[in-house]
């Protein structure tokens, strides 16, 4: 393709290790004996359960509904019985527990009724509602609810589809693009129509020639440009990819939409296609099982599948000394395999000393500047490190610490083996804590002032009552509405997540302000049921037609290969 690329600054080329897992078709797993489904499958507010232990559920039935604006629904990945809703450990670096729905499959795989959604006539708001109700969130790792990315229907200029998959070891998007290119392209076409995008660019790193070819075939005459990107980590970072493909640099602190660009991961687009064309909620995902395992590969696994079942399936070696959730550059070490698979779980890497030799002890920074050479955010990592170490967090912030995407390129090249990203995460956490403390102090001050006013008002009222020409007793002045600061719950997180958390906090606060008595999410609780009511033969037919079309296309694609 002749598109002119706009390389971003820096980047690295770590060994890919993709061949271990990209050679075989996407497999599947026997039904596990139990599914553990975290209610926090996405950025933002956890979903609110609407089932209780003892309930029997159908495959695809809604288990929990979105709570607040930044949230998404959760569904039963298979039919069975709910045995518990209790805190269980979730995939998180700290071994955190979260409220989880525990489902014991009955082996019947009985589906709820699935209805394709008429996205062509529904209007953007309704489509967004549907995606929210279908639990579609970003599958690239961040887990941002997809319905929030559709915008208001004003339309965008460029739709960017992220198939870069730049992290070493991970191949789930690669296999998806190879095996389900037709469905993927159908999903891209839906997005293009919904967003009224003029240009559609699919970026795939050139170390995945089969995926590129499959997509190009599937696109056929459609006006979708599949662009081979030079393999360079982190070309899959949204801002890096947008820069690479369009030359646009998304200004710090703004969204790509402001430049008329929107970016979706291929896995997300596929989930969106399933949700809209087939009425299937997001209940499974493709996950790469790799590293020191006997049978590396990709499986399409039900959400909530215990991670140890996945690793058993892949045949984890005896020499394994730990597991990574996500890739080696941006993933984290799992404290245990007890948790269930989540929507953002794109990869599990079994670590062996041979694949991941222990890092040598860190040495002092010699200011060689190698880190700055590779930083895709164009920061000066050694200065950020210096400030973080000296606990001059504010100076780190001045030098744009929060523009750091925690890609790890700097630490990867540092000859002194300094765990630079650890320092940045720590500094960010300290700054958030300080900000929260500042807000809390602010809040306390405002509360105090409000109380002061109340007391004065009451005193005045008393005084007026005592006076002979008393006016009717005024109602006690209610205190000024109080905005609570966002709770600093978990460990440092990527920037987007932070923004999402802030937004979620604001939404919570707004909800609290609006209705004192009503549960805030009541409004958005029922969309699934509503959608499912009018059973139309017409729709049924359309499903089948769509399925047939997809199958045809897939067959055509297979034969062309």
């Amino acid at each position: 393709m002749s598109r002119i690329l706009h390389p971003f600054h820096g980047g690295i080329r770590p060994p890919e290790h993709k061949r271990h897992s990209n050679g075989s078709r996407i497999g599947s797993l026997p039904l596990p004996s139990q599914l553990v489904l975290s209610l926090r499958q996405h950025i933002g507010q956890p979903a609110r359960p609407i089932v209780v232990p003892g309930d029997t559920v159908l495959k695809g039935q809604t288990l929990a509904v979105p709570e607040g604006r930044i949230s998404s629904a959760l569904h039963a990945p298979t039919s069975g019985r709910i045995v518990a809703i209790e805190p269980r450990s979730v995939p998180h670096p700290s071994g955190l527990t979260e409220l989880c729905v525990v489902l014991v499959p009955d082996g019947q795989e009985r589906w709820v009724e699935r209805m394709p959604f008429d996205w062509r006539t529904a209007g953007i708001e309704a489509v967004a509602q549907q995606l929210c109700a279908m639990g579609v969130v970003g599958l690239g790792g961040a887990g941002f609810p997809t319905h929030l990315k559709l915008g208001s229907g004003r339309g965008i200029e460029t739709l960017v589809i992220n198939g870069a998959e730049c992290e070493p070891y991970i191949t789930c998007d690669d296999r998806l693009m190879r095996e389900r290119a037709a469905d993927l392209v159908a999903g891209i076409q839906i997005l293009r129509t919904l967003l009224r995008a003029q240009t559609v660019l699919v970026g795939v790193e050139d170390n995945k020639p089969e995926a590129i070819e499959a997509l190009q075939l599937a696109c056929g005459g459609a006006d979708i440009e599949v662009v081979a990107l030079p393999t360079r980590y982190p070309s899959g970072g949204a801002k890096q990819l947008i820069r690479l493909l369009t030359g646009l640099e998304v200004p710090a602190g703004t969204r790509a939409t402001e430049l008329g660009v929107q970016c979706f991961n291929v896995g997300t687009v596929y989930a969106l296609y399933r949700a809209l064309e087939h009425g299937e909620p997001l209940i499974s995902r493709i996950v790469t099982l790799t590293g020191a395992v006997a049978r590396p590969g990709n499986v399409e696994a039900l959400l909530g599948t215990p991670l140890d079942a996945l690793m058993q399936h892949a045949g984890a070696d005896d020499g394994v000394e730990g597991y990574l959730y996500g890739g080696p550059m941006m993933g984290f070490a799992l404290p245990s395999l007890a948790a269930g698979l989540t929507k953002s779980g794109n990869c599990i890497v079994a670590k062996s000393p041979a694949l991941f030799p222990p890092a040598p002890p860190p040495m002092p920074c010699i200011r060689c500047g190698d880190c700055a050479q590779v930083c895709p955010a164009e920061l000066q990592p050694m200065d950020l490190y210096w400030f973080a170490r000296a606990r001059q967090f504010d100076r780190a912030r001045e030098r744009h610490l929060f523009d750091c995407i925690e890609c790890g390129a700097c630490a990867y090249v540092c000859p002194s083996h300094i765990p630079l990203v650890d320092y940045y995460r720590h500094a960010k956490a300290e700054l958030w804590a300080a900000d929260a403390a500042g807000q809390a102090a602010d809040l306390a001050r405002r509360r105090h002032q409000a109380r002061q006013r109340r007391l004065e008002a009451a005193q005045q009222a008393r005084a007026e009552r005592r006076s002979p020409h008393a006016a009717p007793v005024p109602a006690v002045t209610s205190p000024a509405p109080v905005v609570l600061p966002p709770p600093q719950t978990d460990a440092p997180a990527p920037l987007d997540e932070k923004q999402a958390r802030i937004a979620a906090a604001l939404a919570r606060a707004a909800a609290r302000r609006d209705g004192a008595g009503q549960p805030p999410a009541a409004a958005s609780a029922q969309p699934v049921a509503d959608e499912a009511q009018p059973v139309a033969d017409e729709k049924q037919a359309r499903i089948e037609a769509a399925m047939a079309r997809a199958a045809q296309r897939r067959a055509a694609q297979e034969s062309r290969r």
Binding site: P14, P168, I366, A411
Partner: protein, 337 residues
């Protein structure tokens, strides 16, 4: 807690330092060939003294001695200092210089990575200020010298201060090439070419080979040697053009061994140089210009050390003033590149 990334590709620090030492070898071989075994003696003296001082300081400061002594940085510092000393200098000069370099130039600041000044140059300047006579006693290159000292005689002079019967130091002595040039020019003699220019050009070639190796290995940024040599050459050429009788030309200045050693091994010390690309250019060019001015108009035989130390002071400021724009924060660029 160790978090991502879980991969590392970096050449460990020790290997970086080893490569720098390796890059010095061609120049060292030439220097030995030209000046004799005394060069090696100076290297050995400085190495032992530097490592011992480093170990002692680390122990006093409660640092893991083995890990930090073995990082190789003390050796690099010792070698650079030793290569700047007259090959027949008395043994205590190298020892004292190395101790100063490590203790005063590096450890008092907090060790590797924390020092403001290039430690080797700190050692050199302490010596040249305290012992100007010994520091200017350059023996003539073996090939050009009026008398020939064999290896044992060289060592006897370094360690015992004795010379073979009947030879005085004056008979051996030569000025540094630059001094010779200056004297020659001032005395209205023809230029220094053919006198010492030839030998020092050989030496320059040795450093150049090592420097190109470092560039090829991406261990030094090109801005530093290029900025330094560029500014030195331009100034030299300008002055030579204005008054050829009083000033040697650009080639002479570049061909002095010290200029290339400085450009590739001293100006490039990452710890004391700026980290931004623009900062590095300004830093190196200023050091090159200062080197020329000190050479041409100052009283010291060479200017690299002073120029580098002066510019070291400007490094933090340069870094601050030359911060490159951050992704998504480029002024006047609402996106389009």
């Amino acid at each position: 807690m160790r978090t991502s990334p879980f991969l590392s590709a970096a050449t460990p620090l020790q290997r970086v330092m080893l490569k720098v030492l390796a890059a010095l070898l061609p120049g060292i071989a030439l220097q030995v060939w030209l000046f004799g075994i005394g060069v090696l003696a100076q290297l050995a003296l400085a190495s032992v003294a530097a490592l011992a001082t480093e170990a002692l300081c680390l122990k006093l400061r409660g640092y893991p001695v083995r890990r930090f002594v073995s990082d190789g940085s003390a050796l690099v510092c010792a070698w650079l200092l030793a290569l700047s000393l007259p090959p027949l200098a008395p043994w205590w000069l190298a020892v004292l210089g190395s101790m100063f370099a490590i203790a005063l130039g590096k450890q008092v600041y907090g060790g590797l990575g924390q020092n403001t000044f290039n430690p080797a140059m700190v050692g050199f300047v302490v010596l040249i200020v305290s012992f100007p006579a010994q520091m200017s006693h350059w023996a003539a290159p073996l090939a050009a010298g009026p008398a020939y000292l064999d290896a044992s005689a060289q060592l006897a002079h370094i360690f015992g201060g004795v010379l073979p019967h009947g030879i005085g130091f004056d008979a051996l002595a030569s000025a540094t090439p630059l001094d010779a040039a200056r004297t020659a020019v001032r005395q209205g003699l023809p230029g220094p070419d053919g006198m010492l220019g030839g030998t020092s050009a050989w030496l320059a070639l040795g450093w150049l080979v090592g420097g190109l190796f470092l560039l090829q290995q991406r261990l030094i940024p090109w801005q530093l040697p290029c900025g330094f040599l560029g500014a030195l050459a331009v100034l030299a050429a300008l002055f030579h053009w204005a008054d050829p009788a009083a000033h040697a030309g650009a080639l002479f200045h570049l061909g002095s061994g010290a200029a290339l050693l400085g450009a590739f091994f001293i100006v490039t010390d990452p710890v004391t140089a700026p980290t931004t690309a623009r900062g590095r250019i300004i830093y190196a060019a200023s050091a090159g210009a200062l080197t020329y001015l000190i050479r041409a108009f100052g009283n010291f035989p060479d200017g690299v050390a002073f120029a580098v130390l002066i510019m070291n002071m400007a490094t933090p400021l340069l870094d601050q003033l030359t911060q490159p724009p951050v992704f998504g924060r480029k002024a006047g660029r609402a996106g389009r590149s």
